[in-house]
């Protein structure tokens, strides 16, 4: 058995708190919400998590290998738990002993026997001992070792059986019973900011612990979220038109539970947010929680997983540039080149589902196609009946008639995108290989030029 105890600090008194709405005081003077949040976060490591006095204790012996061994897990807990409010960590073979160590600022046994470590520790570290510390210290009993050396019958008669029970539990002589924390079905986290914030990017500092709790909750459920919603509640001393608060929803292309990615997306979005009034409270909800298929660990050195991280990178870019500027193509069935490719924002459902589908080989189109398109086509100068673009163009192959589009109406007008074009492959030494087309401008739907029935040349694509 290997127990970890995470101690929480006493809750600071809130001077402006309304006593009627204040939460009921915790018997140990800590914030009950912080303790529950820490317990939810701990559930990702083991299902054996319990609330104990002013701490959260968990039993992690069976989880060591999953989290890459004891040193790695120790480092991770020491690194992350302080962000969630833990002020002390102790590792010991029993929950009570871990709690005692955490209170005394001792991290672990350090290779010694439990008895040797516990004996010199002060009596007050044991909660039952702290109750009777005064009479005991008058009798010269200040450490756990001195207490243990006294006759048990006398202690039981004078101070009650509870002190003996807890002492035995600390030394691992008597079993402990815990009420395990159950994983909540829905994730709601709330935090009251230590001071009022009126600058949106500064909210990230308060959001990060909430996101950590979210990621812990998701890990415990073996799930990922496709989004998070951050609500903020304005301070009670706000302007009338500011409203109760606001919210910000962030969506991701795929269900994820990576803290750093959530934080980066949140930072990009908060940087664009304006707060109407100072904010005193934050709430976080998970959106679209789905089961996440995790990759198996491998004995061999890992091959870098490419697919997922590319999407994370693109989401970060999209958060800064705007989603409409990070695009993936979808092939359309049309003969008009400009409608053959639809560029959709990355992470759009259609492209994602296609990406996961078949992995057939690419079938090249049967006809030559340019690599770049001009949007809109550029009308070319004509000299001596010959189109010019950076010099006279030599027409090589053609004409290739593309006619169609009468079905494609421009919304709210009577016009439609009918085209009648004769495509040619043209070349010159400056511009390279080009796709140009000739169009008769009268009666083709482009109503403006009906008067002048001229053949016009357009540059439409480049075989770059």
């Amino acid at each position: 058995m290997l127990w970890v105890a995470l101690i929480l600090p006493p809750r600071p008194p809130a001077p402006f708190e309304d006593p009627s709405t204040a939460p009921p005081p915790h018997p140990w003077g800590i914030c009950a919400e912080t303790q529950a949040g820490l317990a939810v976060w701990c559930l990702q490591f083991t299902p054996r998590v319990a609330l104990m006095e002013d701490a959260v204790v968990m039993e992690v012996e069976a989880s060591l290998r999953l989290f890459r061994g004891l040193p790695a897990l120790k480092a991770r807990l020491s690194d992350e738990a302080p962000d969630l409010g833990a002020v002390g960590i102790g590792w010991a073979p029993s929950a009570t002993a871990a709690l005692v160590l955490a209170r005394c600022g001792v991290l672990d046994l350090g290779g010694r026997l439990l008895q040797a470590v516990l004996d010199p520790l002060p009596l007050q570290a044991l909660s039952a001992g702290a109750e009777h510390a005064e009479p005991l210290s008058r009798a010269g009993i200040n450490t756990l070792g001195q207490l243990r050396a006294l006759p048990r019958g006398g202690i039981g008669r004078r101070f009650g059986a509870a002190l003996l029970t807890m002492l035995d539990q600390a030394y691992g002589l008597r079993p402990e019973a815990h009420a395990w924390v159950a994983l909540p079905e829905d994730f709601h986290a709330r935090v009251e900011l230590p001071c009022r914030e009126d600058h949106a990017p500064a909210l990230l500092l308060g959001t990060r612990p909430l996101l950590m709790r979210l990621c812990g909750w998701l890990a415990a459920r073996h799930a990922g979220a496709t989004g998070v919603t951050l609500h903020w509640v304005h301070d009670s001393m706000r302007a009338k038109d500011a409203g109760e608060g606001g919210c910000l929803t962030i969506r991701t292309a795929e269900p994820i539970r990576e803290l750093e990615h959530f934080c980066r997306l949140m930072a990009e979005h908060l940087a664009k947010t304006q707060l109407l009034a100072p904010v005193g409270e934050l709430r976080l909800e998970a959106v679209g929680v789905q089961a996440l298929v995790e990759d198996s660990g491998s004995l061999l050195p890992d091959v870098v997983r490419t697919g997922e991280t590319l999407y994370l990178t693109l989401e970060r870019i999209a958060a800064r540039l705007g989603p409409e500027r990070v695009q993936q193509p979808v092939l359309g069935d049309d003969h008009r080149p400009e409608w053959q490719t639809r560029w959709r924002p990355c992470g759009d459902g259609r492209t994602t589902s296609r990406r996961k589908g078949r992995q057939a080989a690419v079938r090249a189109p049967a006809v030559p196609e340019p690599a770049f398109l001009l949007d809109p086509p550029l009308r070319l100068a004509v000299r001596e009946h010959r189109p010019h673009y950076q010099g006279p163009l030599t027409l090589l192959v053609g004409p290739d008639r593309v006619e169609g589009g009468w079905w494609d109406r421009i919304p709210d007008t009577k016009a439609h995108r009918q085209v009648t074009r004769d495509y040619w492959i043209a070349v010159n030494e400056n511009a390279g290989v080009l796709a140009v087309y000739q169009e008769r401008l009268s009666g083709t739907g482009n109503g403006d030029d009906d008067k002048s029935a001229v053949q016009a040349w357009f540059l439409h694509g480049m075989y770059a």
Partner: protein, 289 residues
């Protein structure tokens, strides 16, 4: 004294081509592979491609190597291409909709930032970035980051950057030849200087199926000499139209352009260039590139 084979293999001599990096992507051109260190486009470093203008030969030069990149399932990311990429054309290079990402970055700082993010994450299979403006120190930053990026990184830059210092270990100058070829000159590489430009046969976009023997040498198909309209002297027309222009510009423009002398009308009335089309090559290239 002859060196032991293991030592001799590990030594790079200045007159031999360097081995480049451990990851190399064959360029698809045998002649080019023979002159590139390591025998292909290098991974883990920048490759700078200088072009006289953008959207000239990017895919023709870099495209054949990308087929192998996407065959492994990795995606090709384009940062700030000069025109709208056309998927059917890229499918001729073996790219498809699952393997293409178009990042429409516009400002120079955006282009650099997006390129940096892509390189840093090492998630895309290849990065193609068009950088019209980039300072050497910005490229140096990319080069340092590129050491952790396995695929090739192509930075397309204008020809004007040729004499700027560049931290990219491989710099290539590419121009086109109308007879279905690319002229490639390696400006900088690990190894001896590259003297003679390479001529690489390249037919883009599936055109090899439709080209007839007659059009295999477009350079012999020069445009015909300008037609002379009988009875009209060009100089006279200029003087005449200059005189009439003060009276009525509209009807005159029609008569002039109908008599196959748009250049004259345009030099007189540049504001009407949108009516008869652009004639100045420099102006049209500036408007579209």
């Amino acid at each position: 004294m002859p060196l032991p084979p293991a030592v001799a293999e590990a030594i790079w001599r200045g007159d031999a081509l360097g081995r480049g990096t451990d990851t190399v992507w064959p360029s698809g051109f045998d002649a080019l592979d023979a002159d590139l260190p390591g025998g292909g486009w290098p991974g883990r470093q920048l490759t700078e491609v200088l072009l006289p203008q953008f959207s000239l030969a990017e895919w023709r030069l870099a495209g054949p190597a990308l087929r192998r990149v996407v065959a492994g399932g990795a995606a090709v990311a384009m940062v700030g291409p000069p025109k709208r990429p056309h998927l059917p054309g890229l499918m001729h290079l073996g790219l498809d909709e699952r393997h293409l990402v178009w990042i429409d970055a516009r400002a120079p700082s955006e282009r650099l930032w997006c390129t940096e993010q892509l390189i840093k994450s090492n998630a895309a299979g290849a990065v193609l970035a068009w950088l019209p403006q980039a300072a050497p120190e910005q490229l140096r930053r990319l080069q340092v980051l590129a050491q952790s990026f396995e695929g090739p990184v192509f930075l397309f830059r204008p020809l004007t950057a040729r004499h700027d210092p560049s931290p990219a270990p491989l710099r290539v100058l590419a121009t086109i030849d109308v007879d279905w070829a690319l002229d490639v000159q390696i400006l900088k590489r690990k190894g001896p200087a590259h003297e003679t430009p390479l001529r690489l046969a390249s037919i883009p976009g599936g055109l090899e199926h439709v080209l007839t023997p007659r059009v295999m040498r477009p350079s012999t198909m020069r445009p015909v000499a300008p037609m002379t309209v009988p009875g009209v002297d060009v100089a006279d027309t200029v003087n005449e139209s200059a005189g009439k222009a003060q009276v009525s510009a509209g009807p005159l423009l029609e008569t002039v352009s109908e008599s196959l002398h748009e250049p004259v009308a345009l030099t007189l009335f540049p504001e009407f260039s949108h009516v008869v089309g652009r004639t100045d090559p420099a102006a049209s290239s500036a408007g579209t590139v």
